[in-house]
């Protein structure tokens, strides 16, 4: 079973929820927030294997090239441009689709792998952990996320996603069994939560909400969940001790109260799956 944790808004506590529940429930953990992965700070797994993620990019044989420009014309991402002296390739614009290779009439294009990031694989005492890491200066996260997803096995796994609602989040939650949306009780949190809700509904993924830094005075999230008939699977109150543990890179479940709380949330997540 795959459980995605996403949020819309950044900094609501996706990684806190993911790492604590993974540990307390003995579920494997995958960090798909490849632009800024932080899960390993808290889980501290021993990394046993690292693999590089490459995307296939064109390599043009200048001697075979007849300057017909068909490759540049077919490229939808402007990664190839025809000039008098030959074809220029802009590697960071290339999606690795292979259309250029297909249209070349003289077979002047072959493909080679270009590294855009890496994947670390390891484990803690009890669970398996993976994370993707996008190289600095690389724009495209989805190929790393897709590779990570391909490595996930049948065991129950938590997938920690990036903030927002763009193609990176779509790649991370594609094919998961259940999604957990983490939010906070502010108008920012609610605004971005609604975007995340629309995304998981569009993709037909059963989901529940975890309210982090809950505040009884401004409980606009609970009201929203009631109106929309969405399962609120957890409420984590704001506490200074949580903020301090988090800042030090420690899991909150070191504290008895939080340990119970995250176990409860984990069990209710299984309930969301069962109801769907």
């Amino acid at each position: 079973m795959k459980i995605a944790v996403l949020s819309g808004k950044g900094g609501t506590g996706k990684t806190t929820v993911s790492t604590n529940i993974a540990t307390v429930m003995n579920w494997n953990y995958v960090d798909c927030d490849v632009e800024e992965p932080n899960g390993f700070i808290f889980l501290k797994p021993e990394v046993k294997k690292t693999e590089y993620v490459k995307i296939p990019v064109p390599k043009i044989d200048e001697e075979k090239c007849i300057r017909c420009n068909k490759c540049a014309d077919v490229c939808q991402f402007n990664a190839l441009a025809g000039t008098k002296t030959g074809i220029i390739f802009f590697d960071k614009l290339c999606h690795g689709c292979g259309a250029c290779t297909m249209v070349c009439p003289v077979g002047a294009i072959t493909e080679e792998g270009r590294k855009i990031g890496k994947i670390d694989i390891g484990n803690t005492e009890s669970i398996k952990c993976m994370r993707g890491l996008l190289d600095i200066g690389e724009p495209m996260a989805p190929p790393i996320i897709k590779r990570l997803k391909a490595l996930v096995d049948e065991e129950t796994t938590i997938i920690d996603c990036s903030p927002g609602s763009s193609c990176s989040v779509v790649a991370a939650i594609e094919g998961v069994d259940v999604a957990i949306l983490v939010t906070e009780a502010t108008p920012f949190g609610l605004h971005d939560l609604k975007i995340a809700v629309e995304l998981v509904r569009q993709m037909n993924i059963p989901f529940g909400i975890v309210l982090n830094r809950a505040d009884e005075e401004h409980d606009l999230i609970t009201r929203y969940c009631e109106e929309e008939k969405i399962a609120l699977v957890g409420k984590i109150p704001y506490a200074k001790k949580a903020a301090v543990l988090y800042s030090e890179g420690k899991l909150l479940i070191e504290d008895e109260e939080y340990n119970k709380m995250f176990k409860g949330i984990g069990e209710r997540i299984l309930g969301v799956k069962a109801c769907s």
């Binding site: 689709c97 600095i136 990036s162």
Partner: protein, 287 residues
């Protein structure tokens, strides 16, 4: 003068600082680069005066009358976007490889609207922002368009004040490219310092002058010390340290910038940071 406020990590207080700067700098056009989860308009308010659809991608379409169900397109698609002779829009990257191999010309590429760019008239000047289509491709291109729209409306002597996006990928690259300065909002946590280092490497690669402000500095002063040491080593000036202040949450819930609360200690420090920044970029530096 183009300033972008970024953080690497999400939720460190980018928008709190950006909304405050927007409020304090009346002579500026505001830009919200966070196209997939924009928040600046929530605080600044105002009315939308312009809304235009933006075509930021292509999407393949299969004409079922012409399709001979040979499956060539499905085999060639590297994004797994074709199944049973149908396109899955959320997976299609619009590359057109399927169109190339189709023997019966059943596939065409169509322009895809990836979002709307919006100009909002706020009490403190114009705000350029966007609403991205959920799950859309190419958020970086939409960010570039939001910045272009801002430049079309910008008055000659105005500064450009931009709220950036979290991360280091295409949207962030589109937010920071060509800026004169980046203010990185860092929170003193292990995650915060990790993400700050990554986003700072990016600003360095792009040759953008970086400044730092530390938010909620009193959560963990040991890490604040670590951040300050790191900044010193990298030659980055720390413009200020904002204390944890429950008033920040009140301000968000009241839809007001924190600097409009006279009693707020966080607000006071943000005013100091703004003044420090403004003094560095006096008129001669305005582009």
């Amino acid at each position: 003068m183009q300033l972008v406020i970024i953080s690497g990590k999400g939720g460190t207080g980018k928008t709190t600082v950006a909304a405050s700067f927007a409020y304090l700098s009346e002579n500026s056009i505001k830009v919200d680069c966070d196209v997939d989860a924009s928040n600046l308009h929530i605080i600044l308010g105002g009315d939308d005066i312009e809304k235009k659809p933006y075509i930021g991608a292509k999407l393949a379409h299969i004409d079922s009358d012409k399709c001979i169900k040979c499956g060539a397109c499905e085999k060639v698609c590297r994004f797994g976007a074709i199944k049973d002779f149908r396109i899955e829009p959320l997976k299609c990257e619009g590359c057109g490889a399927c169109k190339v191999v189709c023997p019966s010309e059943a596939i065409r590429l169509e322009d895809e609207i990836t979002g709307d760019t919006i100009i909002t008239q706020t009490k403190r000047g114009l705000l350029s922002r966007a609403e991205m289509v959920i799950g859309a491709e190419g958020s970086g291109k939409l960010v570039t368009q939001v910045r272009k729209t801002a430049m079309q409306h910008k008055k000659e002597d105005e500064w450009v004040m931009m709220d950036g996006t979290p991360g280091i990928g295409c949207a962030v690259m589109a937010s920071i490219t060509g800026c004169d300065a980046a203010l990185i909002v860092v929170e003193p946590t292990q995650s915060g310092i990790n993400d700050f280092e990554r986003v700072h490497s990016l600003t360095k690669q792009f040759g953008i002058k970086a400044f730092v402000c530390i938010n909620k500095y009193d959560i963990n002063e040991t890490i604040v010390f670590e951040i300050e040491k790191l900044c010193q080593r990298e030659g980055i000036e720390v413009l200020g340290k904002i204390p944890f202040d429950p008033c920040v949450k009140t301000a968000v819930n009241d839809f007001r910038p924190i600097v409009s609360y006279e009693e707020s200690k966080a607000g006071k420090e943000i005013i100091n940071i703004w003044n420090a920044f403004k003094n560095k970029y006096k008129e001669e530096d305005i582009k």
